[in-house]
Symmetry: C2
Subunit: 235 residues, 2 copies
């Protein structure tokens, strides 16, 4: 299932690719961070966002906004933040993965390092945002409120990534460039009630899509209560 | 694209259905809360969770756990919580939708009310959980940490919902039954470092899948900065 689809700007071809079998799209989805700096058609990006809008939101609020960033100055502002926080993460990550001697983790770190270095050259950054709903001031906020809140944006981000994958666009989910929501708000001119949550980077891939290592389902699926894993072991 | 697939327990048929075109699965996905109390094969549920595991996680931590709840006592404990918090929400919701005279919102409320009433009869509740990673105690927690955290579970929940939709299973995303994480932890025997985030309810549908109303993409897509909507208006 390893493949690299050619670049296209033909809407019919895009639509045909979006009919990829669901299981194939999921099984071959992975973070493709190394992308070509060449442009991606607005129409293609918008079609992917249109499919992102098909995802559910809490209370069906559809309280999302998507900022399609192509402007160099806006990208540079987000890239500067990404570099600042990445310097800390990379140091911590190097300690951790040296200790663990984890080759896979080091490969991911190198791929992210490429992305950090070339962030302004990524053709499209889709910043996924949530408008905050009114929370009745006298009710206590349950701890689950944060989960429910972000549960209104990540299903759509996943749709966007799956749509990108099936079209053949490289996509990756990042949050670190939004580390300071204040600076991100300024760069994107977001009002205070609109919260930047994550970025989906898009571009025609230099890398390839394909299968990726995952824990076997039996090791993460518990029956009725935690620790009861009747499906663990050889199938 | 309106359809109601028949119940099946045949793995080959399940696999064939999972090859539904991606765009069709997304365009016809919706919360199907009214489901038949009859059983769903474990194999089918596990196959859907296996596809959920294909989604990305922050730093590729794959720190998820899925509790497949079929036991009546565990369901009843979650249902009791759901009823308690729903009583508050429904009251607030009735005020809001009476004020707005929003028919669609009232339909959603009725559908959720059905789910609340019949929660123990839903054949399978998949509780999606996250193990908490170690956060270095001396580093300040950026506000974005919560977003990034929940960004590790909702992409997989969305994969689970899309997989369920393509198989023909009714699925819906809920968080309210987990309102008290303490009580949910007790019912599910979760250790303190495992956080229950959301539930995907599964069962063979009484309702149907099909298209749903959405805001036009041009009204939620901004170019470079918030408020700049060049794609808004007639296509």
């Amino acid at each position: 299932m390893d493949d690299a689809l050619s670049q296209t700007s033909d809407p019919e071809e895009v639509e045909a690719r979006l009919a990829m079998p669901l299981s194939e799209a999921m099984l071959t989805q992975r973070s493709v961070r190394r992308v070509d700096p060449g442009p991606v058609e607005d129409r293609t990006v918008l079609r992917c966002i249109e499919l992102a809008l098909q995802a559910p939101t809490a209370s069906n609020a559809q309280n999302w906004e998507f900022i399609v960033v192509k402007d160099q100055a806006v990208k540079a502002a987000l890239a500067a933040q990404y570099r600042r926080i990445w310097a800390i993460y990379a140091t911590l990550g190097r300690w951790r993965s040296r200790a663990a001697r984890d080759d896979r983790e080091q490969r991911v770190m190198r791929s992210v390092a490429w992305q950090v270095k070339h962030f302004e050259q990524i053709p499209v950054l889709v910043v996924c945002c949530l408008r905050r709903g009114p929370w009745p001031p006298l009710l206590p906020k349950p701890p689950l409120l944060a989960s429910s809140h972000y549960g209104s944006i990540y299903p759509s981000a996943q749709n966007l990534l799956l749509a990108a994958r099936s079209v053949g666009l490289g996509g990756a989910l990042v949050t670190l460039p939004l580390w300071s929501t204040t600076l991100a708000r300024r760069a994107l001119r977001l009002p205070l009630n609109v919260e930047p949550c994550c970025i989906v980077t898009l571009g025609w891939p230099k890398g390839r899509y394909g299968p990726k290592p995952r824990r076997p389902v039996g090791s993460v699926a518990h029956l009725d209560q935690y620790g009861n894993r009747p499906w663990d072991g050889p199938a």
